[in-house]
């Protein structure tokens, strides 16, 4: 197990270096300059600005400086906001994104589990068909379409929750709902399949034969065993939430990382694009790693297979 973790950590470092390098060189080939209104500035003025940000150095030196700073946690200075460090901008904005992500994840998985459970218990009944149908809808309808519907009906027509901005808890309701719909659908479908399989197994029949009531069997014997595989979908779900936050934060004007990323792309703010890309990739890799390790810890069969 230790060997496996070390091996995975080495891959993590290699991947991060590769992504940092890739991002750096891709940024260098981007069309457009970071100077706003470049045509209005004289050659000298442009030179001064480029010098200030170290953009006139040869590319290898820029790359070296970038990597050295990166290791020290310095992501450079934003072009867009004067003299603001990218790391501070990101730190300021990580809160709302995290809050939305965690809320959507928790709500999504819990609701999805319940929906899946109901489906499995009433297998092939009305409840099953309804929740399966809802799950297919949730999985298929793009999050931005759903966000639009919520904004229009709940935000504008009924006025129950604010349409956009970020000024308190009630502002998180609509974006969280838009983000949570995909996890709900995926968790529900997964839970249904797993639960049906578990409920058909011999130990469930034994438990029933011994006289355990149906509720006890479902929660004590069924749910626990069906939960283990659910961990495997948590990783892809977390990643889909990261992707989803890019659009959802823009639609609801949430001051988070996703919104900043899209904005930065539109104005060629290289340091912010690089910083956000690295952060997203880092979180992505960590999530995959944690899920893989967690899976091994929880399911003894996998740990045994690794040991062999």
């Amino acid at each position: 197990m230790t060997r496996y973790i070390i091996q995975r950590l080495i891959y993590l470092v290699i991947t991060m270096i590769l992504i940092a390098t890739l991002t750096f060189f891709l940024m260098k080939f981007l069309p457009g300059t970071p100077l706003s209104a470049a045509d209005k500035l004289s050659e000298e003025q442009q030179q001064v600005v480029l010098e200030k940000y170290g953009l006139d150095d040869p590319v290898p030196i820029q790359y070296f400086n970038y990597m050295v700073n990166l290791v020290q946690g310095d992501l450079g200075i934003s072009f867009q906001f004067d003299n603001r460090e990218v790391s501070t901008i990101i730190m300021e904005r990580i809160g709302p994104s995290m809050q939305l992500g965690v809320q959507a994840m928790v709500i999504g998985v819990i609701l999805g589990m319940l929906l899946g459970l109901v489906s499995a218990i009433y297998h092939n009944g009305f409840m099953d068909y309804t929740s399966t149908f809802l799950a297919v809808l949730g999985q298929s309808i793009p999050s931005f379409v759903f966000a639009g519907l919520l904004q229009f009906y709940i935000g504008v027509k009924f006025g129950w929750f604010p349409v956009a901005l970020w000024e308190g808890w009630e502002y998180t309701v609509l974006p969280t709902a838009s983000l949570a719909i995909f996890p709900i659908a995926i968790a529900a479908r997964f839970m249904r399949t797993e639960m049906l399989e578990v409920m058909g197994s011999d130990y469930i029949v034994t438990a029933r034969a011994k006289g355990v009531n149906k509720v006890g069997v479902v929660f004590k014997h069924g749910l626990r065993n069906a939960l283990i595989p659910l961990i495997t979908v948590l990783g892809p779900l977390a990643i889909s939430l990261m992707t989803g936050s890019l659009v959802i934060e823009n639609i609801f004007a949430v001051p988070g990382i996703g919104e900043q990323f899209v904005k930065a792309i539109n104005v060629n703010d290289y340091p912010i694009i690089m910083g956000t890309t690295l952060l997203l990739s880092f979180m992505f890799i960590i999530i995959i790693l944690v899920i893989d390790l967690l899976y091994g810890v929880i399911d003894p069969r996998i740990r045994l297979a690794e040991g062999e």
């Binding site: 891959y11 993590l12 290699i14 991947t15 590769l18 992504i19 890739l22 991002t23 891709l26 080939f29 981007l30 069309p31 297919v136 809808l137 999985q139 298929s140 309808i141 793009p142 931005f144 379409v145 639009g148 904004q151 229009f152 504008v156 990643i239 990261m242 992707t243 890019l246 659009v247 823009n250 639609i251 899209v262 792309i265 539109n266 694009i273 890309t277 997203l280 990739s281 992505f284 890799i285 995959i288």
Partner: protein, 376 residues
């Protein structure tokens, strides 16, 4: 009383020879025939397939069904509501309506008229709440845009902010989505299957190197990779194609590798090799066909995610450039006037949702059909 004895001539002894008892009476079904029969019994999957066929036909022929071009702008007919002869009961009657409320009935009425520029000749007002019960008075104004602008032809899906025909643009956008669907399937089938197959079949050092490459590629979020690719290339259908080609085949390669690793040491492969078959023949004729069911299922599941991806990129402005129509850009444009003209958002949103649902349902159906455990 005499017992009635049956006549012995009525009975014929059973033929007990092997040829007779082992005879197969039903026609034998191959794996594919059997799967197809089960797929046909799946109502949801068949509806999904039908919806896809209809949408594909509309995407191909839809833009030619009326005379408006995709880029044909005319500000005098901007933001027209949808109008279809005979579909007025669906709300597609070419009118806009809005409810205004105010303290008194007169104020509410004048506000309702003002909402549509006081064009009284073309506005019908209807009192929703006359304000006598203490609540604010509410008046609904219904404005006949086609009559007011004196436009004779009908826009089936209405027009967008620049007066471009939404029907034509929606189906042009659907073409993009369907192109992406074919592309994603092709990439999965060609690159993913070949990569996974070669990696597993040759094993050893080849497998090691190829898997390390995959491990690094998997670490990079698809989205980040795609956005960076689109940034250096010009935004457009080509850059989305290239981006999908880089990132779209990894899960397929892993699945195919896992399956081929299981199959490659089985006797039928050994037999084929003993008979002198070349590696390429063993892969193409013996190994890949055995994994084909899984390949098809996985392809079907990667199609909706690719379609979503294109729409998503276009939605945040990294997909197709502005004048071109993609369902993502159309939806984005719809957002800008969502409150007053929801129809601009409605049609592209419905079409993309239908495409996604249809592909997902069909994929589910195929998975069930190919799964021998689901057999009754």
């Amino acid at each position: 009383m005499e017992n009635h004895k049956p006549n012995k001539d009525l009975f014929v002894p059973v033929d007990t020879t092997d040829t007779e008892s082992e005879k197969i009476t039903r026609p034998s079904l191959s794996f594919w025939q059997d799967s197809f029969i089960r797929l046909r019994k799946n109502v949801g999957a068949m509806i999904g397939l039908a919806v896809l066929v209809i949408l594909a036909l509309l995407a191909i022929f839809g833009p030619y069904l009326n005379d408006y071009g995709v880029y044909e702008q005319d500000l005098s007919r901007s933001k027209m509501p949808p109008k279809v002869e005979g579909l007025g009961w669906l709300g597609m009657d070419g009118t806009l309506s809005d409810v205004q409320s105010a303290a008194t009935l007169e104020q509410a009425e004048s506000k309702a008229l003002m909402r549509f520029n006081n064009q009284e000749d073309f506005i019908e007002t209807e009192v929703v709440n006359d304000g006598s019960n203490g609540e604010p008075a509410q008046v609904r104004a219904t404005y006949d845009v086609y009559a007011a602008k004196d436009i004779q032809e009908n826009y089936w899906f209405g027009t967008d902010g620049l007066g471009r025909d939404q029907w034509t643009r929606t189906w042009m956008g659907t073409r993009v989505s369907l192109y992406i669907a074919f592309l994603a399937a092709a990439i999965d089938m060609l690159i993913g299957v070949a990569y996974g197959g070669i990696s597993a079949y040759y094993g050893g050092r080849v497998d090691n190197v190829m898997q390390r490459i995959i491990e690094i590629l998997v670490g990079i979020p698809n989205l980040v990779l795609v956005i960076l690719m689109i940034l250096i290339l010009e935004p457009g259908i080509l850059s989305i194609t290239i981006a999908l080609a880089i990132a779209g085949w990894i899960s397929m390669a892993r699945i195919v590798r896992g399956q081929i690793l299981k199959l490659k040491n089985q006797e039928f492969v050994l037999a084929s090799r003993t008979l002198g078959a070349k590696d390429s023949r063993i892969l193409q004729r013996h190994l890949i066909p055995n994994v084909l069911g899984l390949i098809i299922i996985n392809t079907m599941f990667s199609i909706p995610s690719a379609i979503f991806f294109e729409a998503f990129l276009s939605f945040i402005g990294l997909g197709l450039p502005t004048p071109m129509a993609s369902l993502g850009t159309l939806i984005n444009a719809g957002f800008q006037s969502l409150q007053i003209y929801p129809h601009i958002l409605l049609f592209p949103a419905v079409v993309i949702s239908l495409i996604m649902i249809a592909f997902n349902v069909l994929a589910d159906g195929l998975r069930d059909a190919f799964d021998p455990k689901m057999r009754e």
